[in-house]
Amino acid sequence: MKRWIPWLVGLVVILWIAGTVRPPKASAEGYDTPAFGRLPVLSGGRIQPIDTVARNSLRILSGKQVVRTGDGKLDATRWLAEVFFDSSQAAKRTIFKIDNPEVLGLFGWKQEQRKYFSYAELFPFLQAIEDQGQSAAEVEAAHRSPYQTGVLNLRNGLILYQRLADCLRPAELEDFAAEVDRYAEVLPIGLAAMSARASGKEYDEEAMRSFSGLVNRFEVLGKANHVMPVPPPNGDGEWMSLGAALLATAKDGVADPIVRGYAAAGDAMHAGNPEAFNQAVAKLGEATLARVPEAKSRAGFEGGFNTIQPFYVSMGLCVLAFLVACASWMSDAAAPQLRRGAFGTLLVALLIMSFGLIARMYLQGRPPVTNLYSSAIFIGWGTAVIGLLLEKIFKDGIGTACAGMVGFITLIIAHHLAANGDTLEMLQAVLDTNIWLATHVVVITMGYCAMFLAGMLAIIYVIRGRFSRNFDKATAAGLQRMVYGVICFATLFSFVGTVLGGIWADQSWGRFWGWDPKENGALLIVLWCTLILHARWGGFIKVRGLMIMTIFGNVITAFSWFGVNMLGIGLHSYGFMNKAFPWLIAFMASQLLLMAIAMPTLEKWRGLKQS
């Protein structure tokens, strides 16, 4: 039986991966949305596949990646295609998440079973939402009430929706492609009429009128640049919005085939014709590949990355590793096998996370940590590395268990942070220096990893020491050494990271230290580590004190990593997070509780008494 344990764990791992990674399929009606999703567009300042635009937009609006309809589900790309091309149908989809009862009260609605509403339902209240959102926007983020935050989010969501709906197809047209052709056709006549009029000669009034009518319409379309689908004709130059590319036809008299392609695809979906849609999309794929091969293949890669969801997959594996490692302490007989199973699971999780991190670095062309989201992922990754190393040295399941738990929590946090929008977003000017991102940010994040890992190790020591029956002396001593070693590691990394941050600040703002909240947060970690080490060296604390102080390190690190961003002040405030606040407080309270559990003198610890 024991022999089978690693295989059994392996089977669960495989089943989990197979269950979460599902290749995208064509929609139920037969639209080849996977191919459409892989088309590259410029949005948010970077080239990304339509699939990413769709997922991020839907996550911002509804917090999910699929749309539930009466009789099934739409994946994100299918939904976005509908928003682009079939606005009357898209307006019926319930995608706007409203969970604040006061916001619902604005429309005279009661909070009932459902939280999701459609554009059509909200349409009569657009002006009211705009007014309320506008006045909420004037309040500083830190001082907004939940209602104000709610109504502002709704307003911003509606703006995003409208910008998406406006950018690839004028809603009122039946046959956009024909219009595109007509424009190319009347262009020479119109231009001739225009120059004739300018020089005071006789001109064709009818041609002139129909020409300028088209120009006006496409100018509106040209300004809708949230998604710019037209790559530069000869490979380099600027990407253009559909309308702008159409107007640029004026220069050579031929409609851009990509503009023509999007018009045809849009008409097809508008008319409910999957075959024509698939043909148009296939042509678009070929045309973009010919024009910008690198962007096309990168967008294809990103589409695949989106499908695999490496961090979501590894989240499950981290939990599994944690549970199996914990199980190894319950059963003495099967302990080595269970430990090996846990180790293997965490190793697979680490490999998948590494793939995800490297893929992100390739897509962004940046070091791994560029925003709060990626810092969360990196902490999960870093803890797994240190945890596996500890496991390799001590072989007692503790390193695996801790890294599994920390990895799981940070990946959950990352999962929720992703709801704020594009996680591969472009960087603000001041951050635009790879060398500092690669050194300061990475080193300081490694410091966070070590702090959380040490905290988790201390928690295990306290829980097992106080409550379990098989916490032998050797394990206790090993665990104590682990905590001490990881704290040393955390001191080194936090200190070097903080100082590197100071040097970066000196390079870009002219001062080494400015008492900015994020800087202070990093300093708090360094001070706390120094305090622990000196108190230990001076004999002021022993094992129990070390564990209690290390657990409090979790509180300080959480404050430094997340808490200071919630203050809504300072140079590092990259977005205020109301929603996370109760969770942060709950986390800190739980750590204080664990410290209280560790308070009684060691004679009262059951686990230590047993041995």
Binding site: G45, L492, F495, V499, S508, F512, G514, W515, L531, L567
Partner: protein, 395 residues
């Protein structure tokens, strides 16, 4: 019985003092971070970090204050003394201790450098329009009262009175001024309101100049991220050698950040102007802005890069050259560093941060020394630990 001196040395070099300082620093930094939400970073720096004590007034507006906690300079100073004393007292040369010695030596350099920076560095800003040449930078916070003789169209004669002299009741005279100045009032933050012609109740801020139609009220210090204090002063000018009989009183004038127009006074056939302006630091060289560029990522408002193309011109040394100042790439010249800090909305005006910090190298040296020290210390631990494990597994 130990002498007092021995006891003192033991105390100042003790580990207990280290732990006290570290704990106090921890609390101070935490409190100082939270306090920024309410008071803003400038006030917090001044009260918490660049002070010997944090003072708490039991009555919000009263002058009576109690020191409630050691401030940044006291804790930093104590920690520095503690480090140096411990270093001197326990210093033993040896490879085993090298890591610790280096770490603490580096920390001494960093702390001392930090203290020097706090005391001697000067930060100011330079605002230049495209095509404009400037030879001075301006203070962020400090003001000066500039009294300018404008009678010569080709040359302004300026008497600048620093802000700390503008105490109410103070009499200021200067050899090149034909009048003396009495400071009537000085407000750190204030509000200016026009008095309506129908309003006969409100008392105007001054008897002469724009202030004669303005109501001046005191405000509490600005605390928001983007709020700034509006400083104002009311001054009385007295001409002639003796004002005991009240003769020669020219009247009072209001000067303020909020008044764009300089106030004028005519004395002895010459026109003088009075302005309250940011304190200026003149340089022996000038900067000319050719072009300011602000790039955004296509289709977004996310800034990609800011840069200023300037010419540096130093008549003393004859140095004249072009320089490009952009994010993370400042211009260093004449002991000062010029950083791209911002721009104005029209995007034809650049704002450069100007920093003179004589001890700017201290953290660079300090952190390298500490880094090497920590690596050595923990590295030796790790090697020793691994060695023991190996020995253990062999037995």
């Amino acid at each position: 019985m130990k002498s007092f001196l021995v006891k003192f040395i033991e105390f100042i070099s003790s580990l207990k003092l280290t732990l006290f300082c570290l704990s106090a620093a921890l609390l101070l930094v935490f409190a100082g971070t939270l306090a920024q939400v309410r008071y803003g970073i400038d006030i917090v720096q001044e009260r918490y970090f660049q002070s010997l004590f944090i003072w708490w007034p039991p009555v919000e507006t009263g002058a009576f204050r109690i020191p409630v906690f050691p401030g940044g300079h006291l804790i930093g100073g104590l920690l520095l003394a503690n480090l140096i004393a411990a270093h001197v007292r326990r210093f033993r040369w040896g490879w085993k201790k090298a890591g610790i010695q280096l770490t603490h030596g580096g920390l001494i350099i960093m702390l001392a450098g930090g203290l020097l920076t706090d005391l001697f560095s000067v930060e100011s800003f330079m605002r230049i329009q495209e095509g404009e040449t400037k030879r001075y930078s301006e203070s962020f916070l400090e003001r000066e009262l500039a009294v300018i003789d404008t009678s010569d169209p080709s040359l302004d004669r300026v008497v600048a009175i620093p802000e700390d002299r503008l105490e109410p009741g103070r009499l200021i005279s200067h050899e090149s001024l034909p009048f003396r100045i009495v400071v009537k009032d000085y407000l750190v933050n204030s509000e200016l309101k026009m008095i309506a012609p129908s309003d006969t109740e409100s008392k105007p801020a001054s008897s002469r100049g724009s202030g004669a139609r303005i109501l001046l009220t005191k405000q509490s210090r600005a605390t928001g991220m983007k709020d700034r204090d509006t400083r104002s002063a009311v001054v009385e000018l007295i001409a002639g050698p003796d004002a005991a009989d009240g003769a020669g009183l020219l009247g009072t004038w209001l000067v303020s950040d909020a008044l764009a127009q300089p106030q004028t006074v005519e004395v002895g056939g010459k026109v003088w102007t009075l302005t309250l302006r940011a304190k200026r630091y003149y340089k022996p060289f000038s900067l000319t802005l050719h072009e300011f560029t602000h790039e955004r990522y296509p289709g977004t408002q996310i800034p990609k890069d800011f840069s200023s193309e300037v010419t540096l011109n130093d008549e003393d040394t004859g140095e004249s050259r072009e320089a490009l100042i952009y994010m993370n790439h400042p211009l260093r010249y004449g002991g000062e560093t010029f950083y791209q800090a911002g721009f104005e909305r029209t995007e034809d005006v650049t704002v450069l941060q100007v920093v003179r910090n004589p001890s700017f190298v201290a953290p660079y040296i300090g952190c390298v020394v500490v880094g090497v020290g920590l690596l050595l210390q923990f590295g030796m631990h790790l090697v020793g630990f691994a060695g023991r494990r190996k020995a253990l597994s062999k037995t």
